[in-house]
Amino acid sequence: MLNDIWVLMVEKGWTLALLRGAGVTILIGVLGVVIGLASAIPLAILRWRRLPVLSQLVDAYSIVIRGVPGLLVIYLLFFGSVDWVQKIASAFGYADSAENAYPFIVGIIAIAAISCAYSVEVIRGALQAVPVGLLEAARSLSLSPRLTFFRVTLPLALRLALGGINNVWQMTIKDTSLVSVVGMQELMRTAAVAAGITRSPLLFYCLAAAMFFAMTAVSQILFNRAEKYFNRGFSRR
């Protein structure tokens, strides 16, 4: 039994393959969340300020992206655009690099688009929960709207949004498995291939799960630190 595992993991090189997959997962997950969050903040503001039309558009975007399976998002993004991207790239003589880089780019865009839709709701909810009086105080001191936002609203909202952002991150790191449909070998896909051909599904899936767990355990430490930081000044309960 142990001998079999040794052969699989070391001699057949699956450990390395899983680690490579984990690398892809982390890269796409982190980029996806960071880009998603960065773009979610302005969108959430539009929604929070209830700007006509724009706020409805944000709403529609967030409902549709949250509503359809992630797989479709990436399918449509990729298969809907790969034709003309390929054509344009060929016209400029970059056919090969487009062929290789495009799935990666689309993967990140799709993951970012999904995590953005989730983050919009989280941040909007947090913005709405910031007590009005605190913003009025800033306004009456004639802090500019931009400063009011960055010095008062955002720090207070981030404290409320932290748990939600953590949830989005944990979902996104696992949503990265979607990029396998455009041919990228991330962690889950590597585990699935290994499970299929070595006939040890539980072993490989649990290994993948353990790796995910390790990633989120590390991120949890960071989130705990952030929570402590944002909660300074607030009485505990």
Partner: protein, 246 residues
């Protein structure tokens, strides 16, 4: 073109298409692909992707052909073209060793005996359609992988499973399969072409007649010179070649 034939394959189907830790593909499908490339004097480049993205990817020219044990059916031919069939595996039912069903002698008897029972098949095949049609009262379970199906056989969630013979040779030979036996009634495409199709073929984009002609010729050559048989016997311990009609 430019000397490379891009081949889409699943990579996680035991014996058929197995991508190892370094991404190299081996198995029956790989042998067929390499054989074709050799005939056409081009280099094979494997693209390993999940089953559900193979067809759309080929549509978008991510690769030229799919070799992933695809069964040819009329239904599927509406979406993609096929080469000539090059192999077909017979299908069997597997039940617990102590089941009275083990001794059944014909498909008709099996159909009657399994009415209302729980039967497992694997997704990506056409077996679900076959069971639905022939044993409509059965409680049909579809699995993403044979290992999962076999696990449910082992825990007693399934009364029977339906699959192709390479799978069963593999399973019944393993310790997990010790308590199971296959019903010795060979089910083939000939029993029901509509549901079970016409054997395995290479998939390619619609109306690519030029490539289809080349593939057909290459496959025919490989069938006739025994390369397919050799591959089949290497991976399945049996010869499942379909003779070339031409």
């Amino acid at each position: 073109d430019d000397g490379v034939l891009r081949v889409g394959t699943e990579g996680d189907a035991p014996q058929f298409s197995m991508a190892d830790a370094n991404g190299n593909v081996t198995g029956f499908d790989a042998d067929i692909a390499n054989g074709i490339c050799a005939e056409l004097k081009v280099k094979c480049k494997f693209v390993v992707q999940t089953f559900s993205s193979l067809v759309p990817s080929m549509d978008k020219d991510r690769f030229d052909i799919i070799i992933s044990g695809l069964g040819i059916t009329d239904e599927r031919m509406k979406k993609i073209d096929y080469s000539i069939p090059y192999a077909t595996t017979p299908q069997y039912f597997v039940v617990p060793k102590d089941s009275p069903l083990v001794g059944l002698k014909s498909l008709a008897e099996i159909e009657k005996a399994l009415a209302g029972k729980t039967i497992g098949v694997v997704n990506g095949t056409t077996y679900a359609k076959f069971i639905k049609k022939h044993i409509p009262t059965a409680d049909l379970k579809t699995y993403d992988a044979t290992t999962q199906q076999n696990s449910d056989l082992g825990t007693g969630r399934l009364d029977a499973a339906f699959g192709d013979s390479p799978t069963w040779v593999d399973f019944l030979g393993s310790p997990d399969g010790a308590n199971f036996a296959r019903i010795d009634v060979k089910v083939t495409g000939a029993d029901d072409h509509e549901a079970l199709g016409y054997g395995m073929g290479v998939g390619l984009r619609k109306s690519n007649t030029e490539l289809k002609a080349k593939l057909d010729a290459a496959l025919c050559e490989m069938i006739n010179n025994g390369k397919v048989k050799a591959a089949s016997e290497n991976w399945f311990k049996d010869d499942y070649t379909i003779p070339c009609k031409k």
